[in-house]
Amino acid sequence: MVSAKRITAGYGDAVVVSDVSFDVHESEIFAILGRSGCGKTTLFKVLMGLVEPTSGEVFLDGDHVVLVGDSGSERFLRKIGVLFQSGALFSSMTIAENVALPLRQQTSLPEGTIEHIVRLKLTQVGLAGFESHLPAELSGGMQKRAALARAMALDPKILFFDEPSAGLDPVTSAQLDRLILEINKSLGTTVVIVTHELASVLTVADRVIMLDRDERTIIAQGSPAELASSDDARVRDFFTRAPA
């Protein structure tokens, strides 16, 4: 479903990730792990066309990923939903209007139908009854869930999550993990998560790759359990939270 082939990316002369290749299978929950500064976010942005790689290619459901805004980007953008770290909800719109935005812009559905979908999505994330609230009137966890409802509005095949647990308490974070699992199971959505939250990875991820800041590439891949018992000290330290 997601195929990254020999990706090298960076900013200016600085190479952040080098020669990274991996495949994410359909209906899989795939996590990209690593310490701060290892290039997770850069790789994440490359996957959805927000950053152009220096070399290499990405395919999303068979579509070649180009820079967002270039011709051909609409094809793969229609298949993905993205939950940004901050939620990125539009502060001037109500929660319902935030969720309705992609439906109004990308489909020709009548307003009544859009309204039903908005209510369905907000019910799915447990925010029924909060439709008329502005983002600022919601807690951090609720904002994240509202942003998830917006990311799911068009029923994308692939959902990208950037640090979904960032800034959330453990209970809210666990609720969000459960929601990710539910969406993955019920809709068969492929999920790609960028995170460094161990608890979250161990709960939701089917498969994991781990990036390293010094190597600038993948140093381990497999199931979370396999990585937790890795022989590589860098991987083991990460899972045991041992200071370097």
Partner: protein, 410 residues
Amino acid sequence: MDEAPETSTRSDDDRSTIGAAEETASREASASSGSGFEVKLLNKSFDELHFGLSGVVRMENARQVLDAIIEAIAAEPLRNVALDLGEVEYFDSSGVAVLIEVRQKCHVMGNRFRVVHPGPEIQRLLDLVDFEHYAPACVLVPRGEPGVLVQVGEGTEKVLTTGRDILTFIGASVVAMAKDLSSPRTARWDGFWRLMERAGTDAVPIVTALSFLMGAILAFQAAIQLRKFGANIFVADLVSVSICVEMGPLLTAIIIAGRSGAAFAAHIGTMRVTEEIDALSVMAIDPIRYLVTPRVLAVALVCPCLTLFADIVGVAGGCIVAASSLDLTPTTYFNQVQKILEVSDVLKGLTKSFAYGVEVAMIGCLRGFQVRGGAESVGSAATSAVVTSVFVIVVTDAIFSMLFHYVRLL
């Protein structure tokens, strides 16, 4: 979704396709590149119509699916309608919305609508919205406006709050500036030169272009009238005095309001949204002293410099027009300028310009500090900074004009 439909009593003989509906459906199906659907009448018992929906229902064709189902139901006189979902291959959220819409439309038409043989995934989605008891609610209707009394009350409160904010801000800024000027070593001068460069040097091209054009326009307008009386030489008087006393300072201040005032409001407003102002406060750094003082001083200093530059370029713009269309030589023009223009005229303009600079920077910073909420509020702050600055500049100009007039009389 992929579950086989439950046992049904329908047979091929019973299946009479609804012409219009199928025609519409097939046409749309072929248009949606393989993601087609079909609405068929499977069975017509004595009191119930039994339709079958098959194929794919997704965002792209949901509207056509809805139209096809409604058209099919409306074409039959029977009031009880069942929709069989047993042969649906793909069904996303828009499918649920379509079913809700059909159910509501059936209710309006006086029909009873029910869904049969939904797969477990469809059933799960239907349960999620409580399909059987789904009540319409207008969640996308904009929030209602409050009553007139509430609006008047809120408006009054806002005016009072804004007034208090302005007074507090002016007081805090004066105190901060006094502290900085009395003990310059503790002031933050590192960003000061950069601010002067941005507000001053970077504005030189636009100030040059506009003041040159302003001088030229004034000369053109004056030339048309003065030529009639053979008083061409007075073009130099008009251009030089009006540019140095009024137009130069005004034009420069308005440019600075549009550039620096709006930038200060947006910058400080964004800092407020991202809690950077709070971060300064808890680090025991006075945000006013850290952010406002250098900006006000920088703009207050560059504004007269830019005005002087605008005066020179504006008078030169008038000279070009005078030389090209009024048969005046540049020497005659500048001799006349020297004769009529007094140093006090230029100083008046520069004094006003200094005041405008202080006002524009203060207003920009104040609007930034007043930001509450998110991106929209930052946009409003930037707009408000420019509009308020222009208003205050013109009011100040009027005050200065009266002041200079009465001072001369004394």
